[in-house]
Structures are given as structure tokens and as C-alpha cells.
Symmetry: C2
Subunit: 558 residues, 2 copies
């Protein structure tokens, strides 16, 4: 049985699909198909790159070790009869349609957005004939492998699917930027934590690790040109990212289809630089902090100081030159004007140069973005750099909208490209109340918790004209870590952070044009959560297990 639309099928037979994000095109049946114990993956690619072979090996490992029982009452035990006579799939063949020189996954993953090819075609016949995965790039093959591994369940060590045949004519992402942001400055995360997160990201086809690596609280990034920044600014000598650590993370990410977008937030959020370069920082730890910054400690780069501008440009160069990404974030959020108003040096420099603060910021931005341009990199900024100041930024600059989803329209009106990172939908850390001390009411500006249901209702094109839709590069969910650490990283991020992964891969609309539907999605999100746990990521339950295996009985009116 072939159905015209897998989502239509879902409405009839609940939770038949475990795919996340759901492919943009999908036909599937309801036949059983067993993965042979000798199942193998053939790479029909000349001189296949090593990371493709590694990805194939990883996919085979997942197929062997996922051991996910179906999430139905009985956990699939009633499938035993059907499995006795089910056809057996012996192999999957990977082919590249592209006749150009073969690039590795790692090379494809760090291309400019316009040159990244992530689509693939997948066919899994139900009669035991070999499955075929084809794409125009090794990165597309990697995405298809991720999909393929999500098809399979376990029953008494038999690996099988119950939705054969599967035909994905073309699965291509709706948006080129699908990200996850981690703040490693408020609290530190080990390389192993980041790698585990990169694994989880790759499973849901997230392609950008936005690494908010430093902030006012700590500077864990070890730069050979500026070793003093981490020496004086890291929480400890062990809570650092060495140059080798950064390369390790960048390589690990790229092999998994993920570009590392590093951020060094400037000119605000830089108090910790004062620990090694006090001359470059205004209002360092000034009191009360709330006058000078959105959170303690206060401290901003002296943007009107030529020495500080030079330092910052060199800092960007040092950090960015070793990264393969075409993008680098210079931050730009929450610049505090009072900090500069009360800084005698900045006031003197403004006076001597005859510039307003905004003009000085423009000079600062031109110089520091210029350093990135010299490396062939495009700057990414937070929305204030576009909306709060009149700066002569390159129109190529990518703008992250965080304050409110409503601001996307304002950015689009200025014809800048947008990455959606709205606090009201995608901030994973919100909802834990205030962390500032001496505040018994304990309310936070970003309360309440952003439920997966809320995140999943986000519309990337809301309030935009059809002429502006091309400006939307995608979006990301974000974990600021004032109240997080490695102990809750997995549980606060997963499976919630998969909601944006689907919105920006599949698009905010189902193939039949209706909006994404949480009721349809929840069973798939359960499957994803369980598969993540099987693979070592501590994603949490969204419902009692009773409901997980009977989601249709735990709806509002069921």
C-alpha cells in the first residue's frame, strides 16, 4: 500500500512515523521489512571522503544499537507474527548524482549558505530489493543517512520497520540556517558536552552550532595571539577551550554536517576582558550593575578608543582565521549607553574625534567587521545593530532577531537577512525564574518556560511580505546558561530544540499546506526522545509513558 501523503496516513494510523524532521516529500506504506543481520551500506562513490565512510559506519552502529522498541502498548510485541514472513533488506546503496569533484561532508558543511546542498532522495522498497539513497553532495547523503536510521525499531533483536515501502522523492530543507546556540561563558561546558550536543543536533539535521563562547562572566577561549584573555578570564585553568579543543569541535561538527558559527559579543558583554586588558573596558564592574548592563558584571569595550578598536579587530581575526566557517558573529546586543556616558576616557575620545556615540559605534563596527571581511567572512549581529543604530553595515550582514519575533519585520524592512532566534519562542533557558540575588519574587523577564508546543507554533514568515521571504535564512533555539550547566544541558535542550529543527527543515507548513500540527508531531517527538536516549543524550519525557505509547488518549478531549 502506497499512500499519497504520509501525513494523511498519520491521521488514520497514529504514530506510524518516527521521522524528525519530517521529510518534505514522503510516501510510505504499512508493510513490515526486516533489516538483515548482514545488512550493509554500499558507498557507490569514487574515492569516497573519509568522513562519508565514518558517517556510514556511524549509521550502521546506530542501526545495530538503537534498539528502540515501538512506542505502542506492548512495545511492538504484536509485530512478532508479521516479522516471521517479512522480507529482508540486505543493503542500502549510496550514490552521488553530482559529477563535480567530490567534496567531503566537512567541506560541504562550511560552504556559504547558497552553495550548501543538503537534499537527498531515498527509496526503501518493501520487497527486500536494495534501498537507494542519492544526493548531489556528500552532505546530502549524510542527511539521508540520518533519515534512514530513524526508520527502524527493535523487537527481540530483530531490526525492522513497519512503514515499508518508503519513498522520499526529494527531501530538501526549507531554510539554509538551522541552528542551536550554546552559551559557554556564564557556565562552562566540557568538550564532551558539546560533542554530545553536536551529535543530537546532527540527528535532527541542525546545521549550525552558534557558539556564544565568551561573555562578561568568563573568557574560556584560548587564543595563541591573546593567551592572557583566557589566563585571566577563564573560570579556571581547566575550564578553557584550547586551540586544539576548538579544532576538535569544529572537525567533529563539520563531519556531522554542522558549521560552527562562533560569536565574540562586542562591544557589550565584554567585562571579563578587563581582567587582562583593563584599559580596553569601560564601566568595568561598575555599581550598581543594573545602571550599566543588563546583568552583572558591567563592562563594555571602549568603542571610541583606537587602541580598543585595533585590539578588537585583531581579536576577531585571531578567533576567526582558524575557523572554516564563512560566518562569524560579532554580537552587538544590549549596548549600554550610560556606561559610555559615565566613562571619562570614552567621553574624552568622543570629544577629541568630534563623533557621537553612534558615529563611534559605526567606526568600531566598520573596523571590526572589516577584519572579518579581510578573511572573507560575513558578520552576524544581534538585531540592535540594525534596529537601534544607524550604522553603515554591509547589506550582507546576517541579523539575529532575539528580543521579539515581531522584530523580524523591522529587520526585513531594512532588507537584511534574518536568523530567527526569538526569546518568546526559542529561548530554552526561560522559565526558571530570576537568578539575580536578593530578589525573593524571583520573576525573570523571559518567563515563562517556552514549551515545545509554543516553539512549534513559530511561523518564520509571519508579518513578512512575499517579497521579503527570501531574507529568512532560518532560525535556532538558544540556551543561555545563567541557570544551566552540564547537569541539565541535555534535559533542558532535548527534545525541545528539535522543534525549530523541523520548522526550518520541513517549513512551517505540512506538504498539504496546513500549518505544522503539534498533535501530529507529538508521537514523532516521543520517538525522537526515546531514540536520543538510546544514543546517549538525556532528552526528557514530555508525557507519562502511559501517554507516550497512547498519545491519542492523552489529548485534551480524548
Amino acid at each position: 500500500m502506497i499512500y499519497p501523503n504520509g501525513l494523511f496516513l498519520l491521521a488514520i494510523i497514529p504514530h506510524v512515523l518516527a521521522l524528525w524532521p519530517i521529510p518534505t516529500t514522503l510516501k510510505n506504506g504499512t508493510d513490515f521489512l526486516i533489516l538483515s543481520p548482514t545488512f550493509d551500506i554500499t558507498v557507490n562513490v569514487n574515492n569516497p571522503p573519509q568522513d562519508l565512510l565514518s558517517a556510514v559506519a556511524q549509521a550502521k552502529t546506530y542501526l545495530n544499537t538503537d534498539k528502540l522498541q515501538r512506542l505502542v502498548p506492548g512495545r511492538g510485541s504484536s509485530d512478532a507474527g508479521a516479522l516471521k514472513t517479512a522480507p529482508v533488506l540486505l543493503g542500502l546503496t549510496l550514490t552521488l548524482q553530482n559529477t563535480n569533484p567530490v567534496l567531503s561532508i566537512s567541506e560541504e558543511s562550511v560552504q556559504d549558505f547558497a552553495n550548501r546542498s543538503e537534499g537527498y532522495t531515498l527509496s526503501v522498497p518493501s520487497n527486500g530489493k536494495p534501498a537507494v539513497l542519492s544526493a548531489n553532495s556528500t552532505l546530502g547523503l549524510f542527511r539521508g543517512l540520518s533519515t534512514f536510521t530513524q526508520l527502524w525499531y527493535d523487537l527481540a533483536n530483530v531490526t525492522y520497520t513497519n512503514i515499508a515501502p518508503v519513498s522520499i522523492a526529494k527531501d530538501v530543507p526549507a531554510y539554509p540556517y538551522r541552528g542551536f546556540m550554546l552559551d559557554t561563558a556564564r557556565n562552562f561546558f566540557a568538550v564532551s558536552d558539546i560533542k554530545r550536543t553536536l551529535d543530537a543536533m546532527s540527528w535532527v539535521k541542525i546545521n549550525t552550532f552558534h557558539w556564544h563562547i565568551v561573555d562578561s562572566q568568563s573568557f574560556p577561549l584560548v587564543l595563541p595571539e591573546f593567551p592572557e584573555l583566557a589566563q585571566q578570564g577563564a573560570y579556571s585553568t581547566s575550564e578553557v577551550y584550547s586551540a586544539a579543543d576548538v579544532q576538535d569541535i569544529v572537525s567533529y561538527a563539520a563531519e556531522r554536517g554542522i558549521d560552527v558559527l562562533m560569536e565574540i559579543d562586542t562591544p557589550g558583554h565584554t567585562a571579563i576582558i578587563a581582567a587582562s586588558h583593563p584599559d580596553f573596558v569601560a564601566c568595568n564592574q561598575a555599581s550598581p550593575w543594573s545602571t550599566f548592563a543588563n546583568e552583572p558584571p558591567a563592562g563594555q569595550l571602549r568603542l571610541a578608543s583606537p587602541a580598543t578598536i585595533n585590539f578588537t579587530a585583531n581579536l576577531f581575526t585571531a578567533a576567526a582565521k582558524v575557523l572554516p566557517s564563512k560566518y562569524f558573529s560579532t554580537g552587538g546586543d544590549e549596548v549600554n549607553t550610560e556606561c559610555y556616558a559615565q566613562d571619562p576616557q570614552t567621553q574624552a575620545e568622543l570629544k577629541s574625534s568630534g563623533k557621537t556615540l553612534e558615529q563611534a559605534l559605526n567606526t568600531f563596527t566598520e573596523a571590526t567587521h572589516g577584519a572579518l571581511a579581510n578573511l572573507g567572512k560575513t558578520a552576524v549581529v544581534w538585531e540592535e545593530m540594525i534596529l537601534d543604530y544607524n550604522l553603515t553595515l554591509s547589506q550582507d550582514t546576517v541579523v539575529m532577531v532575539w528580543i521579539s519575533s515581531q522584530d523580524a519585520a523591522l529587520v526585513a524592512a531594512k532588507n537584511f537577512r534574518i536568523v530567527h532566534a526569538p526569546s518568546n519562542y526559542f529561548y530554552l533557558d526561560c522559565g526558571a525564574g530570576e537568578w539575580i540575588g536578593d530578589d525573593p519574587s524571583g520573576n525573570s523577564w523571559c518567563d515563562p518556560f517556552k514549551t515545545w508546543q509554543n516553539s512549534y507554533t513559530f511561523d518564520p514568515l509571519a508579518n513578512l511580505t512575499s517579497a521579503q521571504t527570501h531574507l529568512v535564512l532560518g532560525g535556532e533555539q538558544l540556551l543561555w546558561t545563567e541557570q544551566s550547566d552540564p547537569n541539565n544541558l541535555d534535559s533542558i535542550a532535548w527534545p525541545r530544540a528539535a522543534t525549530s529543527a523541523e520548522i526550518f527543515w520541513t517549513g512551517a507548513k505540512q506538504p498539504d499546506g496546513s500549518p505544522l500540527d503539534g498533535t501530529e508531531a507529538l508521537p514523532r517527538l516521543h520517538e525522537l526522545r526515546y531514540r536520543m536516549v538510546q544514543r546517549g543524550v538525556g532528552a526528557i519525557q514530555l508525557q507519562p509513558q502511559w501517554c507516550v505509547v497512547r498519545p491519542e488518549l492523552c489529548n485534551l478531549n480524548s
Copy 2:
């Protein structure tokens, strides 16, 4: 230097104390004192019970392995000079004041509240003379050992304190019940998860593990007399607590000063019993569930059925008889009258017996509580059993107030003993939004998140007259697990659940009479969190680490 009040000292020298809960009496200085590498604990007790010796061994292990660096900038490196000349503590002596036969910690921990002696006296001289810990019971010695291990920091493998001498003339709990509730029915937790939680509980002197072991969603409790309940009602054959598991948990708890208060919630919250005994359950999985229950699936014991009453009494007997605790919870929350109104069998039984539903509930309760009384056990119930129905419950019944903290006064007016478990202060699970499907708004009745600051403002005596204060046994924080599982158990519970531990040990007022103060508490809570992490419990950060080592700079107006 001896200060009259450790809390006063705190106001002068921030975060000098790492004790949690803070002792009810405390004098301390600011001298450095090193724990000798050959430090030993002498148990000056005749025929010391094995669990006391185990507790001593565990304390020595913590002293060796905690390795907690001081939470100040530099993490204590500036202490190096002082440590060169600091006196060395060679030993701690434990003595029992009691001349009665020596009971083990395990025996003391399961006594009636009135007969539990948890107080202790501790003296740690600053000159290197032996420290002395004395108590009237082995349980008191255990509490004192917990305090003693919290005094110590590490710097380059030197274990030391900087608050010697320490004199705790008498540290006694303000309330006899200090609990933590875990729901193992909505989602399952392994024995190892429970043991890790018991460890954490013991560190903060929590003395009751309220084990909400079964509910409508699953019945993981294996009872030899009723094996079918778990066979049909557990999530799987591996997601069960065998009789041996229960004994393992009970023993592990008792050795750590913790009584296990098991709950089998009745007559509501029992749908899963229908899987093996459909005759005993009304409105099983009736639709829409919201008409018949507060969450899916619906299903309640047929309280008017003699067979069901007999079954329930036997069930309580089977579960309670193997537990050493003097208490057993019969539940009683959220009884749904519509379930019974629409159940023909219940209506027929009411009619034939000539009873109202309330009268039938009274019969049910008398019989099932009677089974516990026959075992010498006191029943614990949720507040509805007292406030919503006119039942002839024994006045000894302990009542848990959960719907609102305001209801405590209503329970006190009926002269019942109270355990505070208010959802508006102590529900650890609140704040994650709605988990019911098909509800895009995603709001939950128990939003928002109960911050530690909020929990810490709870006053056990609010709205009670002085004549009623004796009715307050204590309180507990609770983790309902619709949206929790082992992956977020530690991070959602700790260090937040320590706030009630302090309120009910130290009392809601500081020794000087002022209310407990979150600003004073936060540095100690940070210390506790770090010590928990060192000991293997994944408690989360409450602030950026920058603030953790400088809490005074992260207050609202600092």
C-alpha cells in the same frame, strides 16, 4: 575569635559558611584548621551498630573525596599562606549520651516521630585538639556527621576549614517530618536513581522518602500476594520494583536516617489496577478523561464494592507489612464523583446498601485504614480526605496539604496533624507548561516554576494560631513526573529541594528571630550544589559561576 551568632558573622564576611541546613545554634571563628592526612573518626560507642560504622566510613570517604574548592575568586588559592601554619585536626570522637540500649541508625530512623532523636552537639576546636560529636542516638550522630563533612574545603589536596573553632551546642530539628516525594508511576526511576536521591536527601537531613510508587499510569510495585498488578500494570517487566528492590531501598534509606513513607493512592489514581482487576475499577479509561479524572487515564476503585474494599485492604496490608515505617499513605486526592455517578455497579451498590457516596467512602476508608491500624501503622492522606468529606478518620491521621498552602489552616481547624506539601511553594515539577496533548497554548494549572527563592519564603506556621503550631509535623518538596524521568531528576530537584529541608530543620526563622533570608542563604546553597556535584548528584547552577564566587556582586542593587 568566637562570634555569638554565625549568621551575624555572615553579614560581615559573606559566604563563610557551607552548612545546609544551618544549625539551630552555631558559634564559629575565622581560624584555619587542617584535616590531618591521618585524620580518623573514633566511635566511642559500645558495640556500635554496623550502620553507624558504615556512616563513619562514608563520612571519611566524603572528607577525602569532596575536594570542594572554596567558592571565592581564586577558589581559595589565597589561603595557601595561612595553611602553612594552621593547626592540624587529627580526629573526631563520637559519643552517645544515651545510656539505653544502643539502637542502629536504621532502627532510629523508622521510629514514630515522637521517638526519633535527631539532635547532636558538635565541637571542633581550632587548636588541633580532637573534635567531639555527641548525641542521644546513633541517628543524632549521623546528623552530626553530615554537618561535620560540610565544614571542609580543598586546596591542592589539603583539606581544611577557615571557620574554626566551630561550636554547635545543640542542633535539633524544628520539625520531625522533612520529606522528599518522588512519583515513580508516571515515569519510572531505577533503584540507582532512587538511591542517588536518598544520598542527596541525607546530606541535607531530609528524613522521609515519600514514595508515590503507583498511580493510574503504571503499577511498578511487585507484591508477592498480588503479582498480577505489576505483571499487567508495570510499563515493562524491567520497569518494576521487586520485593528485593523495595527492601534494598528501605535499607539504604534507613541507614541514611530516612524513613520510607510509601503511598498507594486510593480510591482515585488507580486506573492501572483495571489491567489485572477490571472488576475493581470504575470508569476505566472512560472518555473524555477530563470528565472522570484530573489527568488521563480515568479510573477509580469501586469504593462501594465490598470485594474492592477487601482487595484494597489486603493490598495495603501486603505493601505495608514489609515496611518498617510506622506510616503509610493511602492517598485520597482528586476523587472524581462523576466517575461513580456514571458507574452502574457503584450506583447499584450504593442503592442496595442505602449509602451516600460519602458514606461509602467512609466505609472504604475505615476498612482500608483499619488494615493499616492492624499493622500498627498510622495512615497519611491528602487534604481532600479531611476537607472535602465528612469521614470518621482517626484523629492520628496525618494530612498532607497540597492544593494550596492556605489550606493548612483549614486542616488545623479540624485538629489534624499537617505535612506541608503545597503546590504553590513545593511542587518541583511545575513550570514546564502543559503536557496534555492537543493543547498548543500549553499552560498548566501549576505554572509557574517554583523558584528556590519562592520555596524558601514558605512559612510553616502562617495562618496558624500558637495553639495549632504543634500540629505541624513538617513538610516536603515533591516531584510529580509527568514531564520528568531519570534524565532530569537531579537537575530539577537539586539544590531546590534543599530549601524545605532547611525550613523544616532550622525552622522558618533564623536564631535571631528574623525570617530565613534568601540573600544570606544563596552562598550556602551554592556551596551545597557544588558539594552535591562532587558527590555525584547533578545539582544545577543557580547563577553564572562568576556570581557563584561573588554572590554579593550579583544582587539586585549591588
